[in-house]
Amino acid sequence: MKPASAGRPVRPDLRRSRLRDLRHLLLYAAARLLALLATVVVGVYLTILVANMGGQVDELRLVQIRSEAVEAVRADPAFFDMPGEERSALVERQVALEVERLRLDQPFIVRSLDYLRRALSLDLGRAEQMHSDRGSREVRDIIVERLPATLLLFGSANLLVFFTAVFAALHLSRRYGSALDRTVIALAPSSAAPGWFYGIFLILFFAFLFPLLPAGGMVTAPPPESRLEYAASLARHMLLPVAAMFLSSIFVSIYSWRTFFLIHSSEDHVEMARAKGLSARRIERRYILRPTLAPIITSFLLMLIGLWSGAIILEQVFNWPGLGSLLFQAIGHRDTPVIIGGVVIFAYLLAATVFLLDFLYALLDPRVRVRGGRS
């Protein structure tokens, strides 16, 4: 789809086919969005079931309600000279009221649907012990505060790995069998270890043995005043975690892309272009990259999906204030609402990635444009 340059009249049949393409695209996107929404609903419901199985969450809440009621009755001077039995009866009444208010007396199936509705509308409830840096106890605020840090770190690392890998692979596929090529193949198994693993060693070398870079955190404390200094400090802190992720996935990415390009550059249409004497650059752009764009994008987004969950430990190792370390702290505090909220957010992020994948696929794959949502 070349953009129509302004001024030049567009032929009517071309315009009609554009319109048809657009309609098909929208139809397809809507169908996928609906399907994904259904998927998210099922996924989040499953999460709630796991979190609630055995009534764990309910029991925790009951204990909490009871202790709060006991505390309230004991602290209230009005009940100071009340006999013990009456006081415990009062506590029981308070607990019963609260249970009714929170609908804990209803069957689980009803409540789980209520949880589902709240989770889907991102009404994630209040944290039990944790709070955001601004002091809010709302799980949503806590998560929203941490999200940008995660997006920044993983977004930049992934983009770096992806573009380096694709271009290095293109380069290597032309020099197939060279020493560099064989080195990369030999190094590919190093990706068996996840990013946090390399992170530990990077910290050891660059923060403790040769103290060049900070061992963790996102900015220096206190944060610098000027924007420029803030960005510089951020970049310094990002260097090691990004390097860790880069190290852990770069060689295997180059390896698989190289293989992929090699397979594709032996296809007939590429051979023909070569026979015609087209330049290597042109062959790469037009004859190799263009037809393989859809699988390239697919694998990029699949890599994103894979890295979302790897985030938790890497952030923990580098003390990066993102979603992952939030989840880790929530484990430490046994703060169930935050943990469930985090899982729901991760599910949403994954679903968004999958949707993006589908949509880009539709944009790139002419079959979808022509036939619409039907496969």
Binding site: A35, L36, T39, V40, V42, G43, L46, T47, V50, A51, G54, Q56, V57, Y176, I185, A186, A188, P189, S190, S191, A192, A193, P194, W196, F197, I200, F201, I203, L204, A207, F208, A215, Y255, T259, L262, I263, S266, I305, W308, S309, G310, I312, I313, Q316, V317, L327, F328, A330, I331, G332, R334, T336, I339, G342, V343, F346, A347, L350, A351, V354
Partner: protein, 448 residues
């Protein structure tokens, strides 16, 4: 079939990385098999729980061989027991006096890391009394005070604040081993080597009941893997971590690949709603974040390694692999030999299990092998998050302990490096074999 296999294997032997990978895996499997023989399962758990049995081990000691390779002579732990020395006995009415000289030669390059005295006095009607005297090689005598003894007494000489003050502010395990300084001399204390002695002068109010003493001069290096903050020998965890890691990786990889494969084949064979349900479930599963769910299960239920394994396998059943296998199986479904099988009346199950699955098994082998280290690292990741098995010693738990004790910051590099190296070795072994297998078994890569 056999001939085909042997041909492939011979081809595999051409890759040096495959041979290296197989060698690493064989060594690991050997260690894994040796671990239960060396230390039985129950005993390993019992010992890893920690406690008194480790009291003769130093805290945070580095491996001996690291120091010796560097040409150092860091101290190892010495135990000087009273049963090995001659005691002088002076009886008196209603009891006896004992003089126990616990002497030892100290010829290391560094100060010891700690100094403890363990005393056992069982069967005494009245508690005995003991006075301690420290003798240095240059003939100085430093009194270390007196103690009334219970049945089992642990005298932590290193923790004696008053003694530290008398020694000029030096911790006793340093001050007692330092050479005497000239008047007004400043600088770090210098170590004095030679024959030291701790003389116990005990008054026992019993003619028979025994008194046992053990002086422990803790070293700075210990064993082949060093010790952790609870004095536990890391070699135990590193040894037992091997079978745990391999079992976890192998079971998880087998569990997920086989179930995924069977389900994909069932979907392809039956088509219709079965296929649709499987496809939708796969999509749901794709948006379920594995690690956060594992974290949630670990927090809310139990961190037992077997429960984690179960959840990993469950979440892995409807993994994205189904889509790949489906694409591979779809053309096979229409193959003439399947039609032949149908014609002779083979059951659905038979067609799926005996005709469709064996066709794509070879393609599966490489991905299966490369999957194993992923799960080994997953277990380690969970442990690093503090969700390791509560009882089993694993590599990940060693890493977690090291992290929570800021091992890198405190310079206990061995504590992080040894489990990490083992993890890396496992990962590399399987990955190297897997990549080579991929090149041999994957038809699209064969021509490259």
């Amino acid at each position: 079939m056999i001939a085909w296999r042997s041909g492939r294997w011979r081809e595999l032997a051409r890759y040096p990385s495959a041979i290296a990978g197989v060698a690493i895996i064989l060594v690991l499997v050997g260690v894994a098999l040796a671990a239960p023989l060396a230390v039985p399962y129950g005993e390993a758990l019992e010992r890893w729980r920690g406690g008194e049995r480790w009291q003769y081990h130093p805290v945070n000691a580095a491996p001996v061989w690291v120091d010796r390779l560097r040409g150092g002579r860091a101290p190892t732990t010495r135990v000087i027991a009273s049963r090995d020395v001659e005691a002088e006995v002076h009886p008196f009415p209603g009891g006896r006096r004992l003089t126990l000289p616990l002497t030892f030669d100290y010829a290391f390059d560094d100060f010891p890391s700690e100094l403890n005295l363990f005393l056992t006095a069982e069967g005494h009607a009245r508690p005995p009394f003991v006075r301690l005297l420290w003798q240095t090689p240059d003939g100085r005598e430093i009194p270390l005070g007196g103690h009334r003894l219970g049945e089992r007494e642990r005298i932590s000489i290193s923790q004696d604040r008053a003694l530290a003050q008398r020694l000029g502010g030096l911790a006793p395990h340093i001050g007692l081993f330092a050479a005497e300084k000239a008047e007004g001399e400043a600088g770090a204390p210098s170590l004095q080597t030679g024959r030291y002695g701790l003389v116990l002068e005990a008054v026992l109010f019993d003619a028979e009941a025994p008194l046992e003493a053990e002086l422990v001069v803790y070293g700075r290096v210990h064993g082949i893997a060093g010790t952790d903050h609870q004095r536990r020998a890391l070699s135990l965890a590193l040894l037992w971590g091997t079978p745990v890691a391999l079992a976890f990786g192998l079971i998880a990889a087998v569990g997920t690949t086989l179930t995924t494969l069977v389900i994909a084949a069932v979907g392809v064979w039956y088509r219709g709603w079965v296929d649709a349900v499987i496809q939708r479930l796969t999509e749901v599963n794709m948006i379920l974040p594995v690690l956060p769910i594992l974290v949630m299960v670990g927090t809310l239920y139990s961190t037992s390694i077997w429960l984690m394994l179960g959840v990993v396998v469950l979440l892995g059943i409807f993994s994205a692999g189904i889509k790949t296998y489906r694409a591979m199986l779809l053309p096979i479904r229409e193959a003439p030999y399947i039609e032949a099988a149908r014609a002779y009346g083979a059951s659905n199950l038979r067609i799926v299990m005996r005709y469709m699955l064996p066709r794509i098994l070879p393609v599966l082998v490489p991905s299966f092998v490369t999957l194993i280290p992923t799960f080994v690292f997953l277990e380690a990741s969970l442990a690093v998050l503090g969700l390791g098995d509560p009882e089993l010693p694993t590599w990940g738990k060693v890493l977690n302990d090291a992290q929570s004790q800021s091992a890198l910051y405190n310079g206990y590099v061995y504590w992080v490096v040894s489990p990490a190296l083992l993890l890396m070795l496992t990962g590399l072994g399987f990955a190297m074999l897997g990549f080579a297998l991929d090149r041999v078994f994957n038809p699209r890569l064969r021509s490259l």
